[in-house]
């Protein structure tokens, strides 16, 4: 039988899982059946269209917006002075938290310590960490905190903000490395109430590899939380978030 006459499998729209974080917020597929009620008659359901980069960026953008909104709320709650005094150690922990959080309110934020770098370079699996030893007494291994991420690449991102209002800015990078060229298209009010801040210029210093994002806040821009996503130019994948709080 000639090959053209053979019945073949269809060409599938998608052949791999969509584990992107934004995928978790897809609406349920129309016509999803319940266990005891098999699908109604009709055409087989097609899978939802896989995200093209534009959708991916938009999805991530929306998601990160939401996270930032929640994060801001939680952060505000956390950062309020503790009125009840609490037990001393609580204060200590919160103080550490506050001190770290306070670092974020600077005009520029230099990123990428070992935590913001990629994961440690993988040593070849060696068959595990040794045989199970029932009853062996626990000896604390060195914590991961002090571990230097092997192969970590440092990159630097500076954000300069020109604003007539008092502001705080937070930047977080996801897996960016030296040489990652990112752009920030706009900052959008978390509650959608204000105009976009889109006067943003990204410049790379060719000698140091540093990227500087210059954000100019228009006069009259209302106080709000503005969020934006840093997108890698080459892959169009999200590489970080910027959150600007105008007070």
């Amino acid at each position: 039988m000639a090959s053209k006459q053979r019945i073949k499998r269809p060409t599938l729209k998608r052949t791999a899982p969509d584990r992107r974080f934004s995928g978790a917020f897809r609406p349920p597929e129309p016509g999803a059946s319940s266990p005891e009620a098999p699908n109604a008659k009709g055409e087989p359901k097609s899978d939802k269209k896989a995200g093209v980069p534009y959708e991916a960026v938009n999805g991530a953008y929306r998601l990160v917006d939401e996270y930032l909104r929640q994060g801001q709320k939680m952060a505000e709650e956390l950062w309020l002075p503790q009125s009840n005094g609490g037990v001393p150690d609580v204060g200590k922990v919160v103080e550490r938290f506050l001190r770290s959080a306070g670092d974020m309110g600077t005009a520029w934020f230099e990123m990428m310590n070992q935590w913001a770098a990629g994961p440690p370079e993988h040593a070849a699996p060696n068959g595990g960490t040794g045989p199970f030893a029932a009853g062996r007494r626990a000896t604390h291994a060195a914590g991961a905190n002090g571990a230097t991420a092997a192969g970590a690449l440092s990159t630097a991102l500076s954000v300069s903000v020109e604003s007539s209002r008092k502001f705080r800015i937070t930047v977080d990078l996801f897996g960016a490395h030296a040489g990652t060229d990112v752009e920030l298209v706009a900052l959008k009010a978390a509650d959608g109430s204000a105009a976009l801040i889109d006067d943003i210029v990204a410049e790379r210093d060719p000698t140091e590899g540093r990227i500087t994002l210059s954000v100019r806040v228009p006069k009259g821009q209302p106080a709000a939380v503005y969020n934006g996503i840093l997108v890698e130019k080459r892959t169009q994948r999200p590489r970080g978030t910027v959150s600007l709080v105008l007070e």
Partner: protein, 712 residues
């Protein structure tokens, strides 16, 4: 079976004619079970269904709904008759003072049932927040644990048995902690976990370094404050081990930036799970703890069956653990109320038969032949050994009735087979790729006998039947080389005394993490009514574990098949299998004499197992006393290629091929050895894979309906 079920869904309007070619006399592969003497259930091993097996339960719920058995006539008419919750579990814990303790955990029932519509889609931040929530619960439990003056017995620990956290209880606990000087620290820890839980829910929006530093502060407090308690109380030690592991998981997830990694947990699959936990701060004690041992046992995660080589891909293990602990519905485990063959494969067989699916039993696939290399890659030919012919050319009737339930027998019905007496006398092994005896051969050609193929053999069978694919296609070669399988061993006991009289005073349990040669035990007394004893046994117990790979195991023969070669190979393999069975028997006897006493103290007298508690099985064993009484029980060495268990070794996920892979335009694959996105050896992975295979052919079910396919 899942692929057949999906392709013949009524919604597809009969678009596909499906024929299933099955080696031997029963369906199910490693999941097959049979009925032996007295209608007793004989399994390949212990099969527990986890409460997150959404696809598998959905399949069975649809199957039972369509089957429509009459509850007045059938003991298992509905899916809820077939599966019962099993929340009571235990982990065998070796205490520092050299005693084996049972760490009992009664998982709280959770809302809903597996297979209910629209399960929640989880994200990694969700999981991390849940992990922090669990952390808080455990710290609270430590506080409550320390109320007691004396170190409490292990049996008081865990879940539902934890005393309620009333104000008084907490006040007393705090007083107790003051005595240990631990009040401030644990108070901080509790507060801190609340903060952490909130932070992890919004992890992507917060600087990772901030969370990491916060986590380290919490870790520091806990280590300082719990150190003294761990030494004094086994329960606190166990809780600390879990806390330590949770901290490592959270820390590692932050470090590896899992929340935004498009690979999800797969990003960790190059690492062994314990190696990754240790890398992220877990202590040596914790990675060797009973809790971790139990998880490795559950996944038969010992390379080559060697218990000194525990290995499982960290991402797959973490995904499985997160789903198991945080997404289960109804119950953590579900137990089948009869054999897996009876509960799963007989109903599927009956439904598929009704839908017009044809079954060709005694067809052993021997070769998948490809089209000409110059043309479009496709399967052109399928070759089978016809192991036996059915008398009169009729369809083989595979099921038998046991106590009103359609069941698979443990042996074929030779009376239906041509020359059946001879085949029985010569002990033809119809379920072994190594038994090369046959009644005839059969070849199917594309376009004439089939259009599209779902290759659904066991993972270890692939090298035997896909030589051409392996030779031509590097990806298939890699898959065969890297995706490992392992032999397993199991035995079952039927006893004439109940568990309490044997010394187990707790409810029926599933216990893991015990010694070799059998690390897992499940009380299966509840299946007794489904068997056909004149006097029902008062206790039934199943045991299982990996079995070490034998260096002299038969391998695939590359040479031409001649009658002489085939006979020699068959006989050599039969000797090998018999020897493996003998070893499993020896392991079981050793285990009963030496090890069972930790949990069944009254079953042992004078350092020997009380063989008289066993219900005689086979007639030949009835008159036997002492250790020979074991010969009336059931044991199995799962060494044949189709019986081997698929593992998830570190670094191997990338070699799995997906049922959606379109390289061969009329071929898809199904089984827990494929890339199903879950990538563990379990029924859920097999069902997901089957659904993917159906999607590859019909685009149904939609990928979004395959629960967990897009799971991180």
């Amino acid at each position: 079976m899942t692929a057949a079920f999906e392709l013949t869904q009524p919604a597809l309007g009969g678009r596909y004619d499906v024929t299933i070619y099955q080696m031997g006399f029963r369906l199910g592969g490693k999941g097959a079970s049979g009925r032996g003497e007295h209608g007793r259930i004989e399994e390949h091993g212990l099969h527990l269904w986890m409460g997150y097996y959404e696809n598998a339960f959905r399949l069975m719920r649809e199957c039972y709904a369509e089957l429509g058995r009459d509850p007045r006539r059938s003991p298992i008419a509905k899916w809820s008759d077939a599966f019962v919750p099993a929340n009571f579990n235990a982990v065998a814990d070796y205490s520092p003072d050299g005693r084996w303790l049972s760490w009992l955990v009664d998982f709280p029932p959770s809302p809903g049932s597996p297979g209910d519509p629209e399960p929640r889609r989880w994200t990694i931040p969700d999981y991390l927040a849940r992990a922090a929530g669990l952390l808080r619960t455990l710290i609270r439990t430590v506080q409550v644990r320390t109320q007691t003056t004396e170190p409490a017995s292990a049996e008081q620990t865990g879940g539902a048995s934890t005393p309620p956290l009333t104000t008084d209880a907490l006040t007393t606990a705090l007083g107790r902690l003051l005595k240990y000087g631990a009040l401030a620290g644990l108070g901080v820890a509790l507060e801190a976990t609340s903060v952490l839980e909130g932070a992890l829910r919004v992890a992507p929006a917060l600087p990772q370094s901030l969370i990491a530093r916060f986590l380290d502060a919490l870790d520091d407090v806990l280590r300082r404050q719990l150190g003294a308690l761990i030494e004094q109380d086994d329960s606190v030690r166990r809780l600390w081990e879990v806390i330590d592991l949770l901290l490592a998981v959270i820390r590692g997830s932050i470090r590896f930036r899992l929340a935004l990694d498009p690979r999800g947990f797969d990003a960790l699959d190059a690492y062994d799970s314990r190696e990754w936990l240790k890398m992220n701060g877990a202590s040596e004690g914790s990675i060797n703890s009973a809790f971790i041992r139990a998880l490795y046992d559950l996944a038969f995660a010992y390379e080559g069956g060697d218990t000194d080589r525990p290995r499982i891909a960290a991402g797959s293990a973490l995904r499985g653990a997160m789903r198991a602990f945080f997404t289960y519905r109804g119950a953590f485990f579900w137990k089948m109320t009869a054999g897996m063959g009876d509960v799963v494969f007989a109903p599927l067989y009956e439904v598929l038969l009704r839908r017009g699916v044809r079954f060709e039993f005694f067809h052993k696939l021997t070769h998948v032949g490809l089209g000409a290399p110059s043309g479009e890659p496709h399967v052109a030919r399928l070759e089978f050994d016809v192991q036996a012919r059915v008398r009169g050319g009729k369809p083989y009737e595979p099921l038998v009735d046991v106590a009103g339930l359609p069941c698979w027998p443990s042996r074929p019905d030779f009376a239906q087979l041509e020359d059946g007496e001879r085949l029985e006398r010569e002990t033809w092994d119809f379920e072994s790729q190594w038994d090369r005896r046959r009644a005839a051969t059969r070849a199917l050609r594309v376009g004439k006998d089939f259009d599209v193929v779902v290759l659904a053999v066991g993972g270890a069978v692939v090298p035997y039947v896909c030589g051409e694919l392996v030779q031509r296609d590097e990806r298939w070669r890699d898959m065969v080389e890297h995706v490992a399988t392992v032999p397993t061993q199991a035995f079952q006991l039927w006893m004439n005394t109940d568990m309490r009289a044997l010394g187990w005073t707790h409810p029926p349990v599933n216990l893991s993490g015990y010694v070799e040669p059998f690390d897992t035990w499940a009380d299966m007394t509840h299946v007794a009514p489904r068997e056909a004893w004149r006097t029902a046994p008062r206790a039934i117990a199943y045991f299982c574990n990996v079995l070490r790979d034998a260096p002299d195991a038969p391998t695939r023969q590359a040479g031409a098949r001649t009658e002489v070669n085939a006979r020699v190979e068959t006989e050599t393999a039969a000797l090998f299998v018999a020897e493996q069975y003998r070893q499993v028997r020896d392991h079981a006897v050793l285990f009963l004499n030496r090890d069972i006493t930790a949990f069944w103290p009254a079953a042992v007298a004078d350092s020997k197992f009380r063989w008289d508690v066993l219900v005689p099985g086979a007639a030949k064993a009835r008159a036997r006393a002492g250790e020979s009484a074991f010969d009336g029980q059931f044991w199995v060495a799962n060494v044949r290629p189709s019986d081997r268990y698929t593992q998830a070794l570190p670094g191997t996920t990338k070699y799995r091929l997906s049922p959606l892979d379109g390289t061969y335009d009329n071929l898809t694959i199904a089984g827990d050895w494929t890339n199903s996105s879950l990538n563990m050896g379990c029924v859920e992975a097999a069902v997901m894979s089957g659904r993917l295979a159906a999607h590859a052919i019909s685009e149904s079910p939609a990928l979004a309906e395959i629960v967990g396919y897009d799971h991180p």
